[in-house]
Symmetry: D3
Subunit: 239 residues, 6 copies
């Protein structure tokens, strides 16, 4: 099975990061990984959750969700079903954890930044696009706080980006689209910092269990992709 869009195995889809897509949010990004399109909005609140009050520390959290028709077939709304599904919960937690890895909460002070990552269109890699875009929205929200002189020093200790890798037809591939994701025997989401370290490694054998050699090749590919995304984030924030 060749790649549906003729990419090389180690090639990302066209990635587009549009800052300031919303007028109200303190930071906002429309991030596109090919046809996957995620709207990331950063909201600043000048307070922290109850359990963190008086600690002098800030907080960063995230909520991930999908519009009902982001996917090929319409899915029921979680608000209508009255509960959040396991997948949504899992990804929201992953996005929040990933961003918190590069935040100095003391420098942030008692502010909360919430990242809403809403998938407008899904074609594989929505969680990695969400993390990659959310970092840029977070950086903009931090900039907004800095401009208002609400921060003593930079609360960002680095940058963070994420990418998926997987084995399709025995070939390690970078940044799977939905069609490839379904076909992949092994599937891995890797969150890396701008300096190439790991924040999160999540690999799953969808089909046959995988050995150490394969795992190593996937990690290599992910580090490569992560570096490219870091560069794209840097350019977007410089632009």
């Amino acid at each position: 099975m060749p790649r549906p869009d003729q990419r090389a195995p180690e090639q990302l889809r066209p990635v587009k990061i549009t800052r300031g897509w919303l007028d109200h949010a303190e930071g906002s990004v429309l991030v596109e990984f090919g046809r996957t399109r995620v709207l990331c909005a950063a909201s600043v609140e000048e307070s922290v959750p109850r359990w963190r009050k008086g600690s002098g520390l800030g907080w960063v959290t995230a909520e991930y969700a999908m519009l009902p028709r982001a996917t090929n077939t319409r899915g029921a709304r979680e608000s209508v079903r009255g509960k959040i599904g396991g997948r949504t919960h899992e990804i929201s937690r992953l996005v929040g954890r990933s961003l918190r890895a590069v935040v100095d909460f003391k420098a942030l002070g008692e502010n909360t930044i919430t990242l809403d990552c809403d998938v407008l269109q899904a074609d594989g890699g929505t969680r990695t696009a969400a993390i990659t875009g959310a970092y840029v929205a977070l950086a903009d929200a931090v900039g907004w706080l800095r401009e208002r002189r609400s921060l003593k020093r930079d609360p960002l200790t680095g940058s963070v980006a994420a990418v998926s890798v997987g084995i399709v037809d025995d070939e390690p591939r970078l940044d799977l689209c939905y069609e490839e994701d379904v076909a992949a025997g092994t599937d891995m989401n890797v969150v890396v910092t701008g300096t190439g370290d790991f924040v999160e490694v999540q690999g799953t054998a969808e089909g046959a269990p995988f050995d150490r050699g394969l795992l190593d090749r996937l990690l290599d590919l992910a580090v490569l992709g992560g570096a490219e995304l870091t560069e794209l984030q840097r350019k977007a924030l410089a632009g």
Copy 2:
């Protein structure tokens, strides 16, 4: 209080209707009324709800929702709160009812078209933008069915559009933005067909009750605005 964007009282905000904004949906529109931005996705399902099975009749329904940071201050997600609020329920019902007014369910056959109207950014008039955009998405979904030869005849008996009108500083104004909406003493949402008839009239005295004369002036204004929107829909569908 002059209009925040210097419009004449009987002038709409810049309206933009972008068809085909999504790749998966059978019909999709990004509709903009000034800064208000609503994504309308039409999903076709080749079946009907249980209570309508075997009737030979189709169904059209709608779900309206707002992204948490569509507004100036972040709102809690209804999926997280575990229930849908009254306002969301009310508008979802209004959108569905408005669209059904121009559908011949016999011609549609046992198909269901669901219109998801998700407010990406809110600046007043989200329900009227939703109805106006959803009609165009519905028309595209009907076109999709027609191309697949799933329809014997056109299930659309007309077009439908909606606009808000209100009294601000004793002046009847068309298409209120959020700032005006808050200031308005009386506020009315009017859904009209392409032939200028009424589908829904919802007027509310936010401040002092209003008399018949005022009501008449507001209706006049709404009919005017509805005609303009109808023309914009026509152009968008022709384009």
Copy 3:
């Protein structure tokens, strides 16, 4: 289709307003519009919702609900289903908004009056009966506060009543019963003050969209019915 109870088109059903139907509530009314029977209870609480604390302003709110066997066929309880339906939400909001239109919140002071409107039996027009009865219960609750010298001046700036009108067999009719409501092409609920001004106008084309002439005739009829209900409320409160 003649009126099921032989009324003239512009005639209300027999309306009965029984005050003090409950022993505990600060105000209570059993209101009957023909076979439609709604129990309206006003509860006074000497505090206001959190978002209004310290403002010096009072609050009036309403909750509408139906007993499971109010209708011809038993409906499931919303408490058992675990969520409130859209229709219930919509009407609760309408009742609250209508009553607030005649309340001076400064005069009320930091008190909350909650109007519970529970439909014991439904035969069309439950929301209009609810508003008409709730106003009387509200007036009694205000009287209760006055007697306890908790108010400096009268918080009621007027009275409010509501009535439905609709087109059945091309004939505009006042105060539709359930059978007529189902048959009506256009259906309108109108909330008017005791001085004949409009608080809320909600018209819906159930069948074909309606033109301005029809709308005008329906509004005329509603104003007429509203005046009659106002007189009945006045008599009940005087009695």
Copy 4:
């Protein structure tokens, strides 16, 4: 502490059973035990729950609920809170179980009768009033089925009524009102058949545990009260 309404210890409050209080329900009763007022509606459905299909057996079930202002202080609606409280659950189950004790499900055939017991006003003994009234509504629903010749033989094997007893100031008392209920050290609800047998005995030591002698005196009193209620039910059904 004397009885608030000067009754003798072994005296019931004035009991009133009004049949046919609703127009739609197959059986309906407004039952009053003093100021306690419960509306009991019996709904017949010509089918049974899934787990009973094809068994040839019918089903009888009950739902108990309280209007928010039935009580002295307004309580939150269970539909609004999104869940049913433990007390409501418990009483609904008790009412259903009590009625099923006198039903021959084979004679009922695959029909379901649902008893909705809605407390319009509460002054102690709402569950016993509910059972007592629900039996009469059930009998009327059975009569309705019999008239439609849907039954081969009488599915009622007896009658059922319920009464509360308790110890106040060391005195066993029958049919406690709310004020007494609160003051009672021991509180017992007893469901008896028309022939004086027990269907359910629920005694609770609210204060000090009670001994066998006291239990016996309370049971004696309950049997007495049950016989009176049986007679009142008989008269109501004969009337």
Copy 5:
């Protein structure tokens, strides 16, 4: 039908009370009535619910639940269904009420003890085992408080235990297992103090209503069984 385990009618199943089954809880008991196995954990919190704050009084409450595969056929989790069933509610309330009957809340001071009774395996009598075990866990939690010198005097005014009795094949039997419970015409749960007084008596005619003579024989049997369980609790606490 002979007893499935050849017991005499007035014989308890082998009862085993294992204290300290958990490492974290302030008191914990694995209680076994034959194959019925309930884990009772007592948790001490040095505060009371909001409605009791500042009263100087403590609180004791309980939550009962069943693991999905405690029963012969797997049951759905209440957390997954999103609501607690009526039976669970009912038993949780019964356990809490029973324990509170032997607690002096003034002596407890503003502490809350929560008893979690989780049924690991069910074979009839889970609620009676829960009460019997929970009392021992409660006593241990009180001991824990005493050791920390948080109590002025003993808050336990007595002990409490519970047992089921029922009529199977016209024979009154003590401590029914599941098979007998299903077959029983009448079923009674009795909560008694260590001095043989009643805290709660709940008898239900599952089949034919029962007469006073039968009721008396069941109560005799229950008092007997209660005394034996009291002795077993005493031994466990002494051990």
Copy 6:
């Protein structure tokens, strides 16, 4: 920080696998990793979820939960809160996915096996204990099906076990207890097959991001621990 229980860094806690802990379940295991204690029950249902009907394929799923007092401080029940938390969702999905990696669904036929993993006591590594124990319960349930001759061939294609590894004080350690888990900078859960391949790798930088060298050392340690657990599972199943 030395290990709280003096273990060597590459040493597992004492692991105990008790089969047949429950009488009703088709397979059941009480698994202990030190003080962590998880009850795993396998339930066989001779049908499959709706979306799999008619496929000839079986299904394996899992639900993970914690008793309220499994932890050091009591946690609220998810059934009482009315929703399942993100962590519970995430782990339930992980356990199910891990087990499915070694199941041949064609060989299983249209049967469903549900693994309930209930944490009775938590001291770190509850998810890894759950997976390790659940595999043994699954094997027993498969044995039960085989004995009833419901299977043509063995649906288990291998075994699966899981272990946590982490960096504490710069030292890679195997099988962290709660105290170490909290202190760990990086934390990884690894699911391996009996042949040493990976089914799932989940690594998270709780503190500083980690580099490739560290990741490799953690994976080495996990493979080692996995092999030991595999051997313990083998022995338990042989015993």
